[in-house]
Symmetry: D2
Subunit: 377 residues, 4 copies
């Protein structure tokens, strides 16, 4: 693991996600850019001190030299955005598979470069757009793909948070500090941090790609250096339209990402606050509520569920689904077998490049007087 | 009553709304442009046949001549949009107070003209933006006005319907027929029919006025003559921003108008499908659910409630609140008294003009390549 | 109308319910046992003073003598329980149809006596168990009757309120005063006031009759003279079992009556706080949400709905459905026609007798050391 | 681990729960009464084959002989009920701490005997009543204990499932097979399997102990050997009353355990289907919704939460909380430190004995003609 030392939120989440299905063992790490912190974190995590490194460069150099059976196979990178590309590149080029936190890189250029490296090295790559790990989100995608809703016409996606309603970066809130800092986050704040999740979720569930957008991007809280609020009108290839909303100043909101997709015959709705339900709405018959664990679900939903219906699975399980499917694919490759379609259903380099393109396009659109902005990669 | 003959949806709703609080008696009507239909409807409604008229012109002429104690005092106009202005004008100029269905007129020009006539005649005027009649919507407005949420930053309003997901105007659906017909509805379809409700609700609850918008307006169903779907990014005077969404092709949706407003300290959320609840969300303490009939509510909410908490009041009661408050104001004027502030809280000519301006601006923006469109009246 | 003077809750509700569908005109009343109050109420209601009576006896005497076309046809009795039987008896024997508030009488003996009088006089009789007026409750009954759930096994019904959590009868709360007074309410408090509603709802929806019960009846608030809380285990004819819960000391609860019925193949759930939804749950497929106004509903639901799906109808509309169906039956009789099955679907004398039997049996069971108490009428 | 071989539901859950917080390592097991199955399961779990045993007796014998640093410290017992007592006894007497699945034993006598053994050996003991591991259930308990609701008057607890609506034990459903078999489950079916959870939850949240009960116990599905449905009226020490409902034939229900507690001033409500919310209802002010991760929660809730508010934590995390707190207590003992109060908040031997007493009392009450049955241990 690169990053994720004491006090980091997402590092701990990654570690839990990796443990849940017992497919990973944490064997080494460079947990902080500060060598002392890295060692302290390694000790807390019970690692062999020899495999707690002072820097990610050291990690790759040393791990590469270990015998194959002993050395790390997968590198999780959970650092702030400005330290995504370089360790990912090194990891891939050193022969490690990579799990990388989103947004994929600091810039679209880096993202495209990373795409080439993944292609050249042939290593496996997973980007942690967690929401696509929920069983009912997978079901939603399958239902759209099956054509049951008819041709898709409308996509609404929203991600309202309220935790940046005041100037948190002026306090000792580490999360707020780097996420609002252009030097560490890149050109986008809310749009990069959660807008990319919303964008990914919209494309994943609808199976459509955004072709144009028109954005309103705002920095609401005084003194903040990046956007903390935004919305965009969307056009999809094939004619559907949509709305994306993503804000961190919706005071009182937690993390209620929600997606709605409507076709000719019906619509669907999923939201994280009721993550184990998927609502289908029909023009001519009663709405249906599909539930995690239901015997009537697709293999994509049931493969990603651990308990019978009625035992709520949450965010950590969704995260673990990414880890588990990635592990199954790695294992299949080692065993020389073809992975099942259900295992391959995790976000990768393509989603990462599109996510970075979203950031660059949405920010540019926000600043532009032009109404419709082509979604360029 | 003008319009609202057999088979009309909104006419029956107006009549129930007028009856609920026993402040009105239906005494005369011209229920249809077809004289025979008008008479048949009058008979069904148990009216004195002498006061069932062949046309609204006849109605005004004859009613004017009746002794004051006998003649109609208020005219409800519930015709399609193209027959709003002329009867309203005649009514006002003939000395009748007017209740008019939304959108107010066929065009903004008519609306402004009607504004002048209201001012000149001094008659009272009510526009039936029903949703502002809900007790919890009134409470929402009071909470924003009280400053409890802090300065308002963000307004989301949405009105998804699905009933026009197919080409209903090709069937014998009377509602679909006139609402999708430019000759009867005006330049807007969904944006006029329900977009104006959403717009009105956003301005009513937030207490803010839209200053700029950027719209995406679509005609999704093939063969349809007017828009059936749209969304707009909004800028409000004072710096808040927002999103308005209004569609009639969200297959499977009923009528779930919803508004969310966020300020510096908290946010609120109301939606028609749970009309008796108002959710307040705070950055630093648990969310609260305010309920119709709660002892802790403002006079604006409690004045508009008929039953103790826990007895759901619905759409008809919200509609009736407009009628009742209008009646109370008329009575106060007759009695030479000042109306209470709670009675005056119904939509009127100002809201009607802004609604028509919304239609014209949003349609123009939809066609424009310019991003931000000034909201011009 | 008998009772329902100024300050009475349920009288005003009856009047609104009667007005909503324009099938009734309030023509006379004896609104209070106090003649002055009665007259004052009559004035407020705009009645002809000659038809505002000092007592219900006077009302019947005088109204009987009026010409048939002029005199009252239906008497609504909305007094406290101890003034139910006598005016109802007089009304029926004087040739008036009767609408009576629940519980039907002061005692089971009175109820059975009233049953005889209804049979002898042949007049029509309606008891206002409001909850059976909700469209989705009617749908629930139809679904059970259709056999779609299979044979019924389990019935849960609950009616939690919190408004009597403190000694309200020690304040000037008129509602609390008579509802906790044995001289006016009879032998039961909560069990009579709301337990009978729960009991009626359980039998109505399930189509089954209670055969045995085992009750725990409590007076929780110190100084109170009647029960304010209770629960009962139920046995139904045919083998189903159930639980009834009804309390007025569930602090913070409003009026959330709820019923659940389970058969071999599925279950259903309805609750007043979401009155326009009916949930069906299945063992082998997704749950469904049926909604008021849905095109797929039975004639029993759609007959009792005024607006299209998505316009919430509430408690007053449910109440109005009782009034409307009763009016349709009266009209059918006058016209010498057979009423439609949908019109006949309102609670009557049979339900009233069973309700009073419930009160007597549940109170007796509460006091008994015997476990299973036969439900005796 | 004892039990939990391939195909067992709860064994896998225990293993995930143990892994989530990285406080346990699975080092040995006797996963099945069939030695071959045990070995196969051990292989799948990646255990050292030398520490996969043919029987739990062998496990204890061999593990005892290992050096302290190497041998198992905690034994998880996840077998059917008839194989709870003996391995638990042996484990404790062999010096292992024990985590045992509920219900604790096959009979109350065994339970009391186990209580003595725990006391004599001084080993630590945890019983997996999972629902008390949810952060918002812990918060509920704290709120009641704080007195904010006033003196508790009423407790409703319900646990409806539908999975045994048909004769599942006639199919190859392993879960149904042992849970309906008196030889493996004991004298109770639904009442033992989920009734004990409901009972435990009611006592845990209310802080009260049941003193009397009156039960209706049914075997609904033909051919079944144990109860599959039941309800009980409850009396608590101190005067509160309540209702417990627990059924496995509520067709269409998943696993929606729910508890409501009402005091003089307010009430609370929690249910597993919305596990991250806790509703507080008040007589005099708006209801509040407390949410997992909220900054305003007690240390008991926040100690048991892994992610910020808005990231749903589910059943597995609740289960993991039991494991984690147990581990923290074990570690504290090893370190010679006092455990924090939050760590000690897991169900143990006392809850296990009361649970078994519940089973015996509720079954006896179900068969008895006597109404109120003293809750005897």
């Amino acid at each position: 693991m690169i990053g994720g030392g004491t006090g980091a939120f997402i590092g701990a989440v990654h570690r839990i996600a990796a443990r849940i299905d017992d497919q990973y063992e944490l064997v080494c790490g460079a947990f902080s850019s500060n060598a002392e912190n890295s060692r302290a974190s390694g000790t807390l995590l019970g690692l062999n001190p020899e495999r707690v490194y002072n820097s990610y460069r050291e990690l790759f150099e040393k791990e590469k030299q270990l015998p194959e059976e002993e050395r790390a196979q997968v590198i999780s990178i959970v650092t702030p955005n400005h330290v995504h590309f370089e360790p990912a590149r090194l990891a891939l080029e050193s022969g490690f598979h990579v799990i990388l936190d989103k947004p994929m890189t600091f810039s679209l250029d880096e993202a495209k470069e990373l795409g080439k490296i993944v292609a050249e090295t042939g290593m496996l790559f997973c980007l942690t757009h967690t929401y696509t790990g929920y069983p009912m989100v997978k079901e939603a995608r399958q239902i759209v793909a099956s054509g049951r809703l008819g041709k898709i016409r409308k996509v609404f996606v929203e991600y309202p948070q309220g935790w940046l309603s005041s100037f948190e970066e002026g306090t000792d809130n580490k999360q707020a500090s780097w996420r609002t800092d252009p030097a560490r986050s890149g050109i986008a704040g809310a749009m990069g941090d959660i807008g990319t999740h919303a964008f990914n979720l919209a494309e994943y569930v609808s199976g459509l790609q955004v072709s144009q957008l028109c954005a309103d991007i705002n920095t609401v809280v005084e003194g903040r250096k990046l956007d903390d609020d935004g919305a965009a009108l969307l056009k999809f290839k094939g004619g559907a339209s949509g709305v994306l909303m993503s804000t961190q100043v919706a005071a009182g909101e937690e993390n209620n990402v929600k997606v709605r997709v409507y076709g000719e015959k019906g619509g669907l709705e999923w939201q994280q606050s009721d993550a184990n339900s998927l609502q289908l709405k029909w023009t001519d018959r009663p709405a249906e509520i599909l539930r995690t664990g239901g015997g009537y679900l697709s293999s994509f939903a049931s493969h990603n569920t651990r308990t019978p219906a009625g035992h709520p699975e949450g965010y950590l399980e969704a995260f673990a689904n990414l880890y588990r499917n990635f592990a199954l694919c790695i294992k299949a490759r080692k065993d020389g077998k073809d992975p099942e379609p259900e295992w391959l259903d995790f976000p990768g380099i393509e989603e990462g490049i599109r996510g970075m393109a979203f950031i660059e396009n949405v920010v540019a659109s926000g600043k532009s007087e032009k109404k419709w902005f082509d979604f360029i990669i």
